[in-house]
Subunit: 110 residues, 2 copies
């Protein structure tokens, strides 16, 4: 049996039209993905409102994450993680413009 | 609802008697854990033989991973991941002695 392997920082594009999402593991309703952002943000006025939970860690780069009801944008640095409950509305206010931002996100049922 | 958050590189001990394993997410049979190693290795002659699959990434430090039937030890650097099938026997040959090694491991059913 082949053992899948790789490096999370390989094949990271420097300039993308849209965020790049790649599935690493998928099992039942659980999904682990790598996301690469290059300056993208959630469109003005939009919110993510997800049916599943999301544990997400920023591994490289930087980003600003806002949760509905919070006055302050949370600035994320490498290693910072948040566990976002289902239907907790949130948006990505910004991602670094000068380097790719690499995220690892685990979507799962509560 | 409180949003759990933290940083994967916080509270990393420099010198541990045993590897430190901390659960970050647990849902059904899925479990996401952070592991910190400080020079530990699988005892001579022992193998891990797990009922579940394990997707594991090394985030900091360095380690050598051996799979049964492979002649070479795989040297892992930051960002390197492997997806270990259930019952694929493997061992950690070494972890860095001069700095903590931080892993993120996702255990799941196949």
């Amino acid at each position: 049996m082949t053992i899948e392997s790789g490096n999370l920082f390989d094949d990271v594009a420097e300039d993308l039209d849209e965020e790049a999402v790649e599935t690493l593991v998928s099992s039942g309703s659980m999904r682990l993905v790598r996301i690469v952002s290059t300056g993208q943000a959630t469109p003005e006025g939009d919110w993510y409102d997800q049916d599943d939970w999301e544990w997400v860690v920023l591994l490289k780069g930087a980003a600003g994450l806002r949760f509905e009801g919070e006055a302050q944008v949370r600035a994320l640095a490498p290693g910072d993680f948040v566990h976002i409950p289902a239907h907790k509305r949130h948006r990505v206010e910004w991602t670094a413009a000068d380097e790719p931002t690499v995220w690892l996100a685990l979507h799962h049922e509560g």
